[in-house]
């Protein structure tokens, strides 16, 4: 008797679940009216340096153009470019140029040419702890710190006597993971194409990570975008070579090319972009899109 009551309840429970399952099933197959607009979704993946900027663009563009969804992901410039090559990405953010080998891959896989647009600049800034008395470095000194064969391994090699709170004299060099466009650019601009970074660099996976680590490590040095500055760190002036004036990264010093380690940022499509992607790129290049660069600590394109 008990058994039959219980099984009735069970049947009720199962029957109750059926509509729920059906409802989700319908949502799944039908997709609804919003499904038709999924053609206007832009998969936007790539550079971590540009991630926050890309999010700001996506957010503002939604207000300007409600019909287009921009889905933003980070991972690194290499991730975006790889996605473009295998077709899972519509628009790749990259803080470095397409390499010839990658362009060949894209041609081979999709028969399309990479089409890049410069959307702004990033002044790669050298960060130290706020208590570090050092003010400026030359590119040679930076290379000495970061290259495998470099001679600068301690702060006293740079003439820095004591950093308050630091344990030891050793320079802790912070770098980025190797699929990062920032890493690529820094290595080429500072250590040189053929050079090798010192193997004991502390690699971080994000632009903000680098700055956070510098903020808590008095004898560390790191590089990251200009926009990631906080009150716990300081940005060094950088000189092209000894004897020349050392320059602070800024919008002006990036545009007149006096700051030596600034680089362009790109968005890439595979071949000609579809109409809604073209619209998005045009919007990025227009005044509302460009104004977000300065707001987030990047350098907008020079006004014509």
């Amino acid at each position: 008797m008990n058994v039959s009551i219980r099984s009735k309840n069970l049947r009720g429970a199962v029957l109750g679940l059926v509509p729920v399952l059906l409802a989700t099933g319908c949502g799944n197959s039908g997709g609804g009216p919003s499904g038709d607009s999924s053609a206007d979704t832009i998969a936007n993946i790539g550079s971590d340096t540009m991630l926050q900027l890309a999010m700001a663009w996506s957010e503002a563009f939604k207000l300007a153009e409600p019909g287009v969804n921009v889905e933003v992901n980070g991972g690194g410039s290499g991730v975006g470019i790889a996605g473009l090559i295998n077709g899972s990405v519509d628009l790749a953010n990259s803080s470095r140029a397409f390499e010839e080998k990658e362009a060949a891959d894209l041609r081979a896989k999709q028969g399309k040419e990479p089409l890049g647009v410069t959307v702004g600049f990033d002044a790669l800034s050298i960060y130290v702890h706020k208590d570090n008395p050092l003010q400026e470095l030359t590119l040679e000194q930076l290379a000495g710190i970061y290259s495998r064969d470099g001679a600068i391994r301690t702060w006293s090699d740079l003439g820095v006597k004591a950093i308050p709170g630091a344990q030891g004299d050793e320079i802790i060099a912070i770098s980025r993971q190797n699929n990062s466009g920032t890493h690529h650019y820094f290595k080429e601009a500072v250590v040189g194409k053929k050079g090798v970074l010192r193997p004991d660099c502390v690699n971080q996976n994000g632009s903000a990570d680098v700055v956070n680590l510098v903020a808590t490590t008095p004898n560390a040095i790191g590089y990251s975008g200009m926009g990631y500055r906080t009150d716990a760190v300081r940005i060094l002036k950088v000189a092209k070579r000894a004897g020349e004036a050392a320059i602070l990264p800024s919008i002006a010093s990036t545009l007149d090319k006096s700051y030596p380690i600034a680089r362009p940022m790109f968005v890439y499509t595979a071949g000609e972009p579809a109409a809604h992607i073209k619209k998005y790129i045009d919007w990025i290049l227009s005044e509302p899109g460009q104004s977000l660069l300065a707001e987030n600590g990047y350098v907008p394109l020079p006004k014509q």
């Binding site: 058994v3 399952l21 499904g35 998969a43 939604k62 889905e71």
Partner: protein, 294 residues
Amino acid sequence: MFTETLTGRKKQRHERVARMFFGLMTAAMVIPLLLIVGFVVFKGAPAMTWEFFSTNPRRGGTAGGIWPALVGTLYLILVSLCISAPIGVLAAVYLNEYAKENWFTRIVNLAVVNLAGVPSIVHGLFGLGAFVYALHFGKSILAAALTLAIMTLPVIIASTKEALASVPRSFREACWNVGASRWQTIWRIVLPNSISGILTGVILQVSRTAGETAPVMLTGVATFKAIEGGGLFLYDLREQCMALSMHLFYVRTQASGAPEELSYAIAATLLGVVLLVNTTAICFRVFLRARKKW
């Protein structure tokens, strides 16, 4: 009359030591849990306003709320559960009630056990290859939910089998002896008596689904997706969504200028979702257990 002997005293001493030791171990498990939850909630509390829960992230995730991420996590949980629960429970019923003990069943059982031990990032890569690329779902909620479902399936199968096996064999034998078929026995005797265990196992998997980052990051969760307005129906199943776990990862490692309490508030919300679901599971268990007849 008993006199206390030397061995008797020794026994009592051992008893006390053992009791204290085991008690300490239990405390060692509970204290970190309380500390973690307390710490996260304490640090995140200043940011947890109604606006935080109900609005979209703004200014590159450094301001505003988490609504799209919260909804995205609920989508992933619901859709993956709708896939994994029926398949998992039915498979377990077959394995426990119908399957004969032969090489095939042994291989299936072995596969289930081994699948449960596969790291989630490997499931993510599988989902990327199978659902995103091979089946052309693209990066989408559907692909992410299927990946999560495959990840939780083996555990659901294992816990359901456990629950079914806990129904005494004599119940089944009694039922068969009055002429009931296997299906009648399962439907009227085995399932009603094991439903509490089955549901608990299924619902506990939700907490795992809610917290996973690696598999969904590869298959269907965007770091950021601009959402217009609010409401529950933000996403199409063929689009990507945001998720709490991914949002926490982003805010903590990539967003510059995000207030510290923001990441703790997101963590506390994630914990809240998991705790809510687990509490539901416990209530189910208590309610159904109370009606168990042995």
